[in-house]
Symmetry: D3
C-alpha cells in the first residue's frame, strides 16, 4: 500500500476535495490518496504574494506527510509554490502539478497551449516554462480572466469559459495538447479530452502517476547536492513547528 | 492486462533481453512487457547513420505492435531514433529512453550528468537535450570510450568503466543525478543508485512507467496537429510492408 | 569537371526534374548536376514518418554518388532528412536545402520568413531553425495548406498560393527575405524575387553554390569527431546494399 | 529625507548590522537607512527551504516598512527571497541584492564571476541569472564551501577564503568584475576592489543606489499588470498580521 | 561636484537641449550635466550606417569629456552606438540610454514594451535586448513610423503618436512598463507615466541615475580584461585627434 | 568578369596583401579580387575602439567599391566591423569573414573551435556567435595571446603558436573543425587543414565563395526592410565624403 499526499496549497476545502477526486480517479490499485490543505494561509493563490504564504503551508504538510509515512508529495497549485524547498525537506519525490502537466504535454505533442485563470498568473507560468526548459514547447498562454474561486462557485460559468478557451486554442494555436492551468480545473480534463479529441491535461492526475512511477523506480528526491535536507538550524517563532 | 512494447532498435538479441529484464523489473502487476528488435538492421547504434537505419526497424515494430494491440511503445536506444515518426504512426504513447531518463532526472535533481559509450554519440545526446528543453539541466556529458557491444562481451570491463565514470561525475559535476546513456546499461542502474547514494537513471525502466502512466491517464499520442497519422501514400519497394 | 548530386528524397520524377532544372540554372560552368531520386520510398514528404523512410533513400543515393565520384551531395527536401547520417557516410560535403536557404537568408537580411506547404511540416522547420541556430532569425512561418504534390498538378493553384503568401509575408512580417519551404517550389524563386523586390530563396540553387564553394575551398565533411564514417558493422536484410 | 529599508531576511542581528553599515557607506546625503530583520525565521539562508521561510519575514518587513513610510525596500540576501511577492505588496521599488549586483556588473564589464558561500546555493544563483537574463554574462560561479555564519565568527577565515577565490577568479575566469554572493560579504567589496584592481561588487550598496535612483525618477513598482497589489483575501492563522 | 557628460551622438542641437533638460530634471544636487554633441556627423540616427558614423562622434566626446574631468558618460541615442568602444576609452562609467531604460524597466515590471520611431530601427533594439539579456523581458516592440526629427518639428504630431502607441501597448501587450525608444522622447516620460498610471521610462534620465550610482559606489569601467584601454597604436588621418 | 572587393579594415598593407593572396587562391575563373584597405585608421584591430574606427574605413571602401562597380564586398577582419552598416550602404552582398568562417564550419562539422589572437578579442567573437546564432555550435574559444601584427613580423612565432593551439583544440575540444580568428591567419588554413586532417577554416577564402555564390544566385543585400539604403541626410565634416 502506497500513500501519496496531494497538497492543496490553499485553504479551500472544496478545491482540496476536487483535487482528491481527480487524484483518486487515476491512482493505481495499490495507491491511497491523502488530499490535504493547510489550516492557515490563503483561500486561493493568484500571485507571488499568495504563493509565498502558500509555500509555508506546503512545507508544513510535507513535514506532516513524512511523519505519516507517505511515499511522495504533490503540490497541487499550478505555480508549484515551494517546490524546491519541499524537495529539500522531503525524502520521497515531490511533484508540482504545473511541472507534471507540462512534462506530460511534451510526451504526447510537439507543442502545447496553457489555459489558466487570471492574466496576472501568466507570468508565473512563463517563469516555470523557463525553469523546466519548455519555453519553446509552449505555443500560447491564455487566461479566462476569472479568479480561481469562480471555479468553485457552482455556476459553471468558469468551466464554460475554460471550455471555450480550449476550443479556441485548438483552432488557433497550432498546438497538439492543452494544459489546464489551475488545480481547480482538475476534474474537467477527461471530458474536455473527449470533446476536443486531443489531450487536455490536468496536472493533479499527471502528478499522481509521476509520483507512483518514481516510487516504483526506487527514486526519491536526490539528497546528493543542492536538494539535500535543509541544513539544521533553529527555526524561531511561527516557524518552530517546522523544526 | 496492458501490453507495452519495448523496441530495441538494434538487432542484438542479448541487448533486447537486457532491456526486457530491466523493463519487467519495474512493470506494474497489470503490465506485460513485449521486448522486440528488428530482424534486419544494425547490431548496435553508434551514430546518425546507424540511427537512420534503426528508425525503419522501429517503425516496423510499431506497426506490428499496433496489430498486436499493445498499449504503448518504447524506443530503447539512447538516441531515441525515429521518435517523432513513430509517434505519427502510433495511436498510443511512444516514449524514447533518452527522453524518459532526462525527464525523470529533472524531477529528482536540479541538474544531471550523462554517462554514455562512444564520444561520437555525445552530439546526439546534445541535440536531444536541446529538443527536449534540458540543455541547462545537464551539468556534464561523459563517454567511456567503448563501443556499445562492449557492454555485452561478458567481461564486465565496460560496466566497470561506467561505474568509475559515475563516481567521477558524482565528485566533480555538481549534479544530483546521473543518466545512463545506453539501453545496454539498463540493468546497472539499480546497483549504482545504491552504491553512489544518488539516483542513477536507466531510461528503459523510466519509460515503462511513463507509458503506463500515459495509458492510465487515457492519453495516446495527440492526433490533432503535427503528430497526426502519416498522410496516406503508396510506400514502394522495401517499404511496402509499412503500408 | 565537378559533379554535384542533387538527391530528391522522394520518388517523384517530376519533382526531381524541377530540382535538377533549378540546380542547373545556377551551376558554375565546371559543374555538372546529377539529379536523382530513390527508386523506392514515398512520393512526397509531409511529416516525420515520410522523412524516416526518405532518409534511407538519401543514404542509398549518397553511397551511389560516392561510387560515381561526385564531389558533393544535396538533400533536396526542406526537412533535410538524413542530413547528419549522410554526412557520416559521405567524404565530400552534404548540404540540406533548408539549411542552404536559411543560411543564405541570414546573409542578405536580418530576419526572414518561411513559406511552406502543409501546417504539419512547420514543426520540422522549427526544429531545423533550432538545430542550425536561426530561431531568432526567423520572423514568421507560413503554410499554404496544400500537400506537396499540389505543386506538380499542373494547375498552378499551389504556385499562386505561394505567391499570395509571400506577398502577405512581405507586408506583415517585418522580414527582409523569404525562404521557400519545399523543394518543389525551387523554380518559383527567381520570378518571385523580381516581383516582390526582395530575396525569395530556393534552397536547391543555394545548396548548389554551397557545395561548389566547399569543394573549391577543399573542404569535405570533417572526418575528425562525430561525423566520421559510420563504424563498420554488418548491415542485414533490406539494408545490405548500404554496406 | 528619504528612508530606505534594508531587509536582512535572516534573523542574525550581526549580519543586519553589517548590511546597515555597507548601506550607509554609500547612501546619498538625503537618504536614511533602516536596517531590519525578522524577529522569527532562520538565522542564515542556505537553500530553498530557508528561503521560503525567509520570504515571509521579508513580507512582514515590507508591510511594516510601508506603514513607516519608507521610499523603497531592499532584500538583502543573495537569493533575493520573496522578491516578486514583495513587489506585489509594495508601492515603492523593491530590489534584491543579487539582482542589484548582477545588473551593476554588466554595466562595468562584459562578463562577471560570482563568489558565494556553500555549493548548494549555486543553483539559486543560476536560477536568478536565468530569470534576470544574465546567464551568458556570468563567466563562472565559485563557492568557498563555508556556511554563511562563518562570515560572522570573527576569525576572518571565511573572509580570507573569499579573497583567495576572488584572486583566482581574476586570474582564470576571463571576467571583468566579481559579484560577492552573500549579504554577509557586503563590507569586503571596497577593499577587494582596491586590492584586485577590478570591480568587486556588493549587492547591498548597489541596491541602495538603485532604490535611490528609482525614487528620484519617480518610479515605484508598476501596479499595472502582474505586480499589482495582492488580491484582497482573508489571511488566516499565522499570516493574519499580513492582512 | 560631479560632472556627467550626456553625449547626444547626432548633431541636432535641439535634441541635445531636450536631453540636457531631461538629464538636469533628475540630477542629484551635486551633479552637473554637460550636454554635448559632435560637431560633425549625422543629424539623426536611424540605422546602422548612421550609428557607425555617430560612434566616432561619441568617442571624440568621450575623449574630450575625460580631458574635462567628467565622472561618467552617457550615450544618448537608443541604439547605444559605440558603447563598448567608449567603455574601452573611458575610465569612468559609460551608460547607453537603451541599456539604462531596459535595465530600469526590469526592476519595476516583469515585462516591458518598447515604443520607438522608424520600423527599421527595431532590429537595433532587438539586438540590444539580446546583448543585454532582456529578450524574454520584452513583451512587444512598436514603431510610430515617423523619423527621429519629427520629434523636433514643433507640431506635436510625433509626440501624440507616441502617446497613442503607449496607450495601445498598455491595453494589449500585457507588460507593466513602457520604454521610450528614442532620446528625443526624453521629456515625454514623466507626463506619460502620470497619464498612463504605469512607468514610462526615458533612458536619458535613467542613465543619469546609473552613472551617479556607479560613481558613488566607486566603480568606473573595469580595466581588467576586455574593456581595458585601447592598445596604443598610431591613429592616422581623420582619426588623429582620437590619439 | 565579376569584381569582389576584399576590404581589410585596418591600414596594414602587408595584411591586405596576405588577404588578397588568400582570396585569389580560391576565386573562380571569372572573379577578380580587389584587395583594399583604408588610407586612414588603425593598423590593427584588437578591440571595440579599433573596430569603431575601422568601421568608417569599411564604409568608405564600400562606397568606393560601388563606384567601381564591384559585385560584392568582404569585410576582412574577424570582428566583422561595420557589417550591418555596410549592408545598408551596399546594393550587392556584404560578407564578414567571421560570419563566413562560422557558417562554413557548421556545414562540415557539428561543432567548431576558434583560435584567435588576443584574449581581449574573445568577447567580440562571443557576441558574433550570439548574433549569428552559433553560440551552441562553438565548442571552445582560444587566444594565442599575441597581438595581430605579430602575424606580420616575419618571425613565424605567431604562426607556430596558432599551429600549436589548433593541435591542442583538435585533441581536447571535441569539435570537428577549427575557425581561424584573424584575417592575418588567412594563408595558414590550407596547410593546417592538411596537417591536422580536419577543416581549418579561413574566413577570407570562405567569404569569397559566399559572395560569388550570392552573386550567382542573383541576390544582393535585401533592400526591403531594415537593411535598406541609409536614409538620406547631410553628412558633415570628416564624413562628407560618405555622402
Amino acid at each position: 500500500m502506497s500513500l501519496i499526499q496531494v497538497i492543496n496549497p490553499n485553504t479551500s476545502l472544496a478545491m482540496t476535495e476536487t483535487m482528491g477526486t481527480a487524484a483518486r480517479a487515476v491512482a493505481a490499485p495499490g495507491t491511497e490518496i491523502l488530499a490535504v490543505c493547510p489550516t492557515h494561509g490563503v483561500e486561493s493563490i493568484e500571485g507571488h504574494f499568495d504563493e509565498a504564504i502558500a509555500a509555508i503551508g506546503v512545507l508544513e504538510q510535507v513535514k506532516r506527510g513524512k511523519e505519516q509515512g507517505v511515499s511522495g508529495h504533490i503540490i497541487a497549485c499550478f505555480g508549484d509554490p515551494g517546490l524546491l524547498a519541499a524537495r529539500e525537506l522531503a525524502s520521497g519525490p515531490v511533484i508540482g502539478i504545473a511541472e507534471a502537466a507540462m512534462h506530460t504535454a511534451t510526451l504526447v505533442a510537439t507543442r502545447f497551449s496553457i489555459v489558466t485563470t487570471l492574466p496576472r498568473t501568466l507570468v508565473i507560468a512563463r517563469h516555470l516554462l523557463q525553469q523546466y526548459g519548455f519555453t519553446h514547447h509552449c505555443a500560447a498562454l491564455h487566461a479566462i480572466d476569472l479568479p480561481v474561486l469562480a471555479l468553485e462557485d457552482g455556476s459553471g460559468v468558469a468551466q464554460e469559459k475554460v471550455r471555450q478557451r480550449c476550443m479556441q486554442a485548438k483552432r488557433e494555436d497550432g498546438s497538439g495538447a492543452i494544459v489546464l492551468g489551475c488545480g481547480g480545473m482538475a476534474t474537467l480534463a477527461q471530458d474536455l479530452t473527449k470533446e476536443l479529441g486531443m489531450p487536455v491535461i490536468d496536472g493533479v492526475s499527471a502528478a499522481v502517476k509521476m509520483v507512483e512511477s518514481l516510487v516504483a523506480l526506487g527514486f526519491g528526491t536526490s539528497k546528493h547536492g543542492d536538494l539535500d535536507y535543509p541544513r539544521e538550524k533553529p527555526l524561531s517563532g511561527a516557524f518552530q513547528h517546522l523544526n
